[in-house]
Structure formats: C-alpha cells, structure tokens
Amino acid sequence: MSAPYAKLPAWADYGLIPLINLFVAFLVAGLVVLLVGENPLRAAVILVEGAVGRGQAIAYTLYYATSFIFTGLAVAVAFHCSLFNIGGEGQAYVGGLGVALVCLTFDSLLPWWLTFPLAILGAAAFGAAWAFIPAYFQARRGSHIVITTIMFNFIAASLMVYLLVNVLKPAGSQAPQTRTFLEGGQLPKLNWMLEAMGLTVRSAPFNISFLLALLAAFLVWVLIWRTRLGYEIRMRGHSPRAARYAGVNEVRIIIVTMLISGALAGMMALNPVMGDQNRLQIDFVTGAGFVGIAVALMGRSHPAGIVPAAILFGMLYQGGAELAFEMPGISRDMIVIIQGLVILFAGALEHMFRPTLQSVFASFSPRSVGIEASRGERA
C-alpha cells in the first residue's frame, strides 16, 4: 500500500482546497488585525470594498491583476519543466527596457496599434534574453537556476539604474526616467468596459494589456497541454530520466522553457510602462515578479487557476492600499503580512488539508476518488 490516499476529484483539487487555504489565511490574518487592536471584520469589509466596491476600485484591481497574470504564467511555465524561475522581477524589469526602446523609437511615427505589437516583441525578447543566461548555465553547467535567477534580479536592478541615470534620462531632467511617450506609445484604457456595465471610473490605469494577458493565459494552456513542445516540457518536469529515455534533449528543453518564461515575465512591463506611466521609471515592477510565484503556486500552475489567483492578489494590492489609508492602526506592512499569509497557506502549506479532505472524500464516495478503478484492475 504505497499510496494510502487516493486522488481527489478535480473540482475539489482546484477549487475547494484553494478556498479552504484562503479561508484559513484570512482567519489568521484576522487574528493579526485583532492583535493590533483593530476590528478584523471592519478591516475585511474595508479591504473587500476597497478592492471591488466601486468601478474605480475594480479598475485598479484588474490593472494589478494584469501584471500578476503575466508573471504568474512565467513562473508556471518554468514550473512545468520543474524549473523554479524566481527571476521574474528582473526579467520584467529588463522587459521594460524593450518596451521603452520600441516606444521611444516609434511613438512619433506610428499609431499605438502598430507600436503595440512591436512593443510586445521588444518586451518578450528582452525578458527572454535576460532569462537565457541563467537558463544556459543551468542546462550546460548545472548552476542552480534559483540562485542564478535571483542574482540576475539584482544585476537587472543595477543595470536599469545605470541606463536610466546615464543613458535614457533626457538632458536637464532630475528624475531617473525616460521622457514621456507620445500618443503612439500609449495603450488605450479599458475603463469604458466597466462603465458600459454601469460602473463609474474616474481615472484608472486599467488598459488593453489585460486582454493580452488573458490571451497569453489561453496560449500557455495550448502550449502546455496541446503541443509537442509542452508535452516534452511536462515530461522533463515530472521525470528528467524519462525525458532522457524518450530522447528529449534536456539542454534544449531547459533553454526553450526559460526563454518562454522570461518572455512572459518581460511582457508584464507592457502594463505599467506602456499602459499606465507612459515612461520607463526606476523600480516600476514593484514586486510583481515575486507575487507571480505566489500566483502560480495558488493557481496550481494552470492558466485557469492563475487568472483568478492573479485577480485575488490584485484585490489584496488594491484593497490593502485602501485599508492602510482607512485604518491608521494598519500600516502598509500589515498588508504585506496578509499577502504573506495567503502565500504561506495557499503555496507553502498547500498540502496541509489535503490528507484530511482526501479521507473525508474517500469515506463517503470511494468512486469519486478513483478507488474502484484501481481495485477493478485485479479482477
């Protein structure tokens, strides 16, 4: 009896378990709020209202979610190859350089809808290039990708500061940022979509790259589950020995996977750089690369899980900002604690409730967990 617990049905695996984890995370977060002397129920109401209570709030939530979808997908693609790419932060940062160079070059020549595809290519190419170096070292030399990608985050940060201060900053300006893009380098907002649903949005950075993020999620699903490349990525991810046996070139598959992962991380830059700030600024990624890890964990590396997980983290970002504003006892750091708890329960302790839930399921519905199936084979 090597596997005492049978599998859970998919809806419980992908739906119920994340919900239970989330509930526990909020329960513990509530205790923390109680500890600092605030009313946790009121805090929860403020947080949720601040995230989805008004059209304005929803637009901001979706704006943040857009970034997290890209970085979450980036981490997920690498996960499928059992590579832990924690360099999304740096890859997105360098991806921003690609976006900025395209926009600075073409914003006076082309309309946005021609600049946009070029900027997508620029973001993807620069993000992928930044992921290539760690990928090459992992594939050829066995240098651990966790170490190299995190180091490359720091190198990216230094490189970008240098470029912004010494190269890209317009003459005479004090701020380490590029000039503002002209109309040809600005993405249209999607706020009208929310307004069409009867909500009011004063001004929010929610833009068309949200649709690109959804498209990317769909394409990642196609890639992983419907293409030969995705099949080989998953094979290598589950069992490098089986991949070797099947004749999959490990060096190639590691590098290709990381290029795709880096490209997705790089595309995150489109959202803030071209969709919101319309210029390349220092530290515009603001942790989205790391949130992507949590999003991928919580979304079980499946695009259908990543999109809702990204929206949830968008809510935490947006609602958390409101909460810090409304409740003086709760600082910005408290919000980080709550986010950390969600990551802890949804990611790191993902399997905590699984065995219990599995025996509960098995006890009243053995068929639903595939036990009959594994029995029948001996008949």
Binding site: M1, A3, P4, Y5, A6, K7, V222, R226, T227, R228, L229, Y231, E232, R234, M235, H238, S239, R241, A242, R244, Y245, A246, G247, V248, Q358, S359, F361, A362, S363, P366, V369, G370, I371, A373, S374, R375, G376, E377, R378, A379
Partner: protein, 511 residues
C-alpha cells in the same frame, strides 16, 4: 504446536476506502519460521507495518507471547522483542558496523562507555549466532549480504525474539540467500521466531515451517509447508490456476541484429561499471543476462540504448553503427528499430503523473501519426491508447486515468504495449516482471516468447534467475561489469549461481 509468539485477531486496516487488511487472524508459533506470501498489494507489508508499529490497525488485537499488546510505534515493538529487517536497508553508509548497531540505542550521552558495552555485546551475538562481521568495517565497503547481516544484528542487539524479514533475498545471489537461510535456521534453533515475507515460492518451500497466503487484503490460507506444494500456493495467491513454466518451442536464430564489442562504461565517479563486454543477439532468439543486481546490467542497458555515455567500444544495430558518445540519441535508435523496456519503470519507462494515453506515446511522440504540425493530435493519441489497452488487456481500460493509479503489472503492460507495438527489430528488456503480480508475469512472458517467434532479437536482463532460465535461449552471466560466462538454459541453478557470485571467474579467464 508450541505457544504462539504472535497472535493477531481480527486485524483490519483501511486507507480511505481501500481495505488493505481485512479481518486477519494469524498465529505464529514460537521457535518457527513462518512465511507470509502474496502478490504485490496483497497487504503483507501493511500487516507487518501494523505489527511493527508503523501503522495502527483500525480494528483487531495483537497478542505477543500471549499478552495483549498495544503497539503504537516501532519502539513499542522493539520493547516487546520484535525486530524488523527491511527490504531496503536502514543503514548509515559512512558509519561503521558498530556505530550503525548502536544508532538510536546509545543509552548514554557520552559515546565512549556505550560503545565499549556495545562492542562486548556485539561480539557475544556474533559468536552465538555465527554472524561474523567486522565491527569496525564501514558499511559502504561491505557486500550486500553482509549489510543484511548487520541489519539482523541490529535487531538482535535490541533484544529481538521475533524477527520480521521483508523480502530479504531480493538483493542476494543464490548462494548468499542459502547462507541467509542457514542463519535463519540457526536463529530458529536458538529459539527465535522468524517471519519471512516474500513473493518467491521457492524460498517458502526451502526454509519455512508454516506458510500463510494473503490475497487482496485477506489471509486466505495457512498451511504446514511440508504438506503443501508450489502449485497449490501459487493458486491460492492468484485465485486461479497459473502456469509457472513458460511453454516455448526451439529458437530459430537468424541474422545478427545487435552486436556489442568491447563496451566499457563508467559511472559518474569514473568507476568501471561495464568492463570490456562483447556479445551478439540474433533475430529470433532471446539472450538473457543473469547477474545479481548492481553488477553493471543497468549501465549496459543504458549505454546500448543511448541513455548513458560509453567510454569505449562499439555497438551495431542491424549492421549500422550506434552512436555511443554524448551525441547518442535514444529517439534516433527508436527510429532505427530499437525498442527498450527499461528496468526502472517508475522513473524512466513512465511518467507516473501523466494520463495513460500520454505514456502510451512516450518516446514515440515525434511520430507523425500523433501530431498535427506542432500540436498533439489528442484524438489519434487516445484512439491509439485505447487499441493498446484492448490488445494487452490493460486494466482498468481507461486512457484518461493517471498512470500512477494502475497496478505494477498493468503499468508494465503499458510500457510493453508501447514498445512491442512499434514492431521493432531489437527489443531490449530490463527486469520485465519486477513488482508485477503472478498473473501478469504469465502474460508478459508469453508476449516475450511471441516477439522471439516473430523473429525479433530480444535482449533480456533480469535478476530473477528463474525468469532468465525459462525464457532465454542463451544465458550470459554478468559479474562485476564483465560477462563471466555463457551457458545454455539447461545449466543448473547451482552452476549459474557460482558464476553470478564470481566464483568461476578465474577459471573462465584461464580457459
């Protein structure tokens, strides 16, 4: 019958809805060797884990020496005089024998005194039971047979009166196994009680006094060994009559399909695992490679199939040379007609989290019939998997089921179906029936003979000597990385056993 050392009454244990043990009553008489036999998943290990305190039974009672015992952990079991020798040894490799034996039973904060006491005790045990091992030898320098002896000493050191051995002969040569049996008989004569878990019928007949048969979680029969036969036990295990002997006609060997010359393979530390090996396999014959596990068979298979780099030598497949360097490509070899059923089904032959249909194309996923451009042709893949499931009677017949949920025998059938249905010229098979139940073994053996009769060249590597002898047309014996002899399948087990132990190596070399 003497007083019962162990008595189990109504033991039941479920994992979820899987009833691993159902209502088991078992009496083990003191001073006897009691065999427990059953297929994989019959519940033998669960039952012994309950007795040793790894699991608690849902229902039922355990009596040790007539006294009701609550065994909640392995330390409870040890306190009651129960010792266990695991299938996979629980030894610290870079510790000495003595250090391993006192590990967890040091007794005092300072090692010096307990080590001295332990040494005296260990010497007494070795003397009393004829279990000589150098107390200061480091475990990793000892051969497997001696490591097992250390495990037995460990249990005796902790005062075991009842010894449970879980599949103890899996890693031993026939002569090492015989030696183990001699030790077990001696322990019995000293009044110890021994429980022997195995799936090898021959061992049961050779050494036990009584035998209990388990099937699907239930204890179906207990017999006195001298009053039963191998055939009866096999039938009790499987629940139907089984053919233990494979029926096959004479081989009609044809052209040389696979030729290996002076092949040398090293492991990552530069130790020679395969040393100057040469042999041929012809169309229409099965060549078996016998040997104790770890004598280079795995490395040999991996080098021939392009998975592992060889240091020197050459291999030709149907007259064409095979790339043996870092550019070796298993996919290219498959294109040229080499199919490979790997030894390590779980990590190499299958991706366990994959659906069955995804594993049915593993290694052949580049074939046009499974693809539409860069996309997988999911329908064609599932249809293909369905065909194979029907043809090879894979159960349950569900192409969408995760591969991990199939039994060992059915997993092996998935691999066999995939490799055999490619209609290869050369079929390389490693441990085809490891962890496979008796019913499936019969099926797999028949299919391998079929392949031979269709004119395929089959290279079979197995540590099961019975399997090698009943399937092969020629037997090569491998020891310490070298082919130390070739025998016909009529060779006696004793003769092959000596070769496997490296005893006749010098004589062969001199000839």
């Amino acid at each position: 019958m003497a007083e019962a050392a162990i008595e189990l009454k109504g033991i039941s244990k479920s994992f979820g809805a899987v009833r691993a043990n159902r209502d088991i009553d078992l009496k083990i008489a003191r001073g006897t060797i009691h065999g427990i036999i059953g297929e994989n998943g019959a519940g033998k290990s669960t039952l012994m884990s309950i007795l040793y305190g790894f699991y608690q039974a849902d229902r039922g009672e355990i009596f040790v020496n007539g006294e009701r015992a609550a065994i909640l952990s392995s330390s409870d079991a040890i306190a009651r005089g129960i010792g266990m020798v695991h299938q996979h040894f629980m030894l610290v490799h870079n510790f000495t024998v003595l250090e391993n034996i006192i590990l967890g039973a040091e007794g005092e904060p300072l090692l010096k005194t307990s080590v001295a006491k332990a040494r005296a005790e260990l010497e007494r045990l070795e003397r009393d039971y004829g279990l000589e091992v150098d107390p200061d030898a480091v475990i990793e320098d000892l051969p497997v047979g001696l490591q097992q002896r250390v495990e037995i000493l460990k249990a005796l050191f902790r005062g075991a009166e009842i010894l449970i051995l879980d599949e103890p002969t899996g890693v031993l040569t026939p002569s090492e196994a015989d030696h183990l049996f001699r030790i077990l008989r001696q322990l019995k004569d000293e009044g110890k009680t021994i429980v022997l878990i195995t799936h090898k019928l021959r061992e049961i007949m050779a050494v036990t006094d009584n035998v209990s048969v388990m099937r699907q979680g239930a204890l179906v029969a207990t017999r006195r060994t001298e009053e039963t036969t191998v055939e009866e036990l096999a039938e009790l295990m499987v629940g139907r009559r089984v053919l233990l002997r494979v029926e096959k006609g004479p081989a009609r060997p044809g052209d040389f399909m696979l030729s290996v010359r002076n092949l040398t393979v090293e492991d990552s530390r530069g130790v020679k695992m395969v040393d100057d090996v040469s042999f041929d396999v012809r169309a229409g014959e099965i060549v078996g490679i016998a040997g104790v596990a770890g004598n280079g068979q795995s490395e040999l298979l991996e080098a021939i199939t392009g998975i592992r780099r060889a240091v020197s030598g050459s291999v030709t497949l149907d007259g064409e040379p095979v790339e043996l360097t870092g550019r070796a490509d298993p996919a290219d070899l498959r294109r040229r007609g080499m199919a490979h059923v790997p030894e390590d089904r779980h990590n190499m032959g299958l991706v366990l989290p994959f659906e069955e249909n995804e594993n049915a194309i593993l290694g052949y996923h580049w074939q046009e019939r499974y693809l539409k451009g860069p996309f997988l042709d999911i329908e064609a893949i599932r249809r293909d998997a369905q065909d194979k499931i029907e043809k090879y009677d894979i159960r349950p017949p569900d192409t969408r089921l995760k591969t991990a949920n199939f039994s060992g025998g059915n997993q092996q059938k998935i691999v066999l179906a995939r490799e055999m249905e490619q209609d290869p010229k050369v079929l390389i098979v490693g441990q085809p029936t490891r962890g496979v139940d008796v019913g499936a073994i019969e099926f797999i053996h028949k299919r391998l003979i079929d392949m031979r009769d269709q004119g395929k060249a089959v290279l079979l590597v197995s540590v099961e000597l019975d399997e090698i002898r009943s399937l092969s047309d020629r037997i090569l014996v491998m020891f310490a990385g070298r082919i130390v002899g070739e025998r016909s399948p009529e060779a006696t087990e004793g003769e092959l056993g000596l070769l496997m132990a490296g005893v006749e190596e010098e004589k062969e070399a001199a000839q």
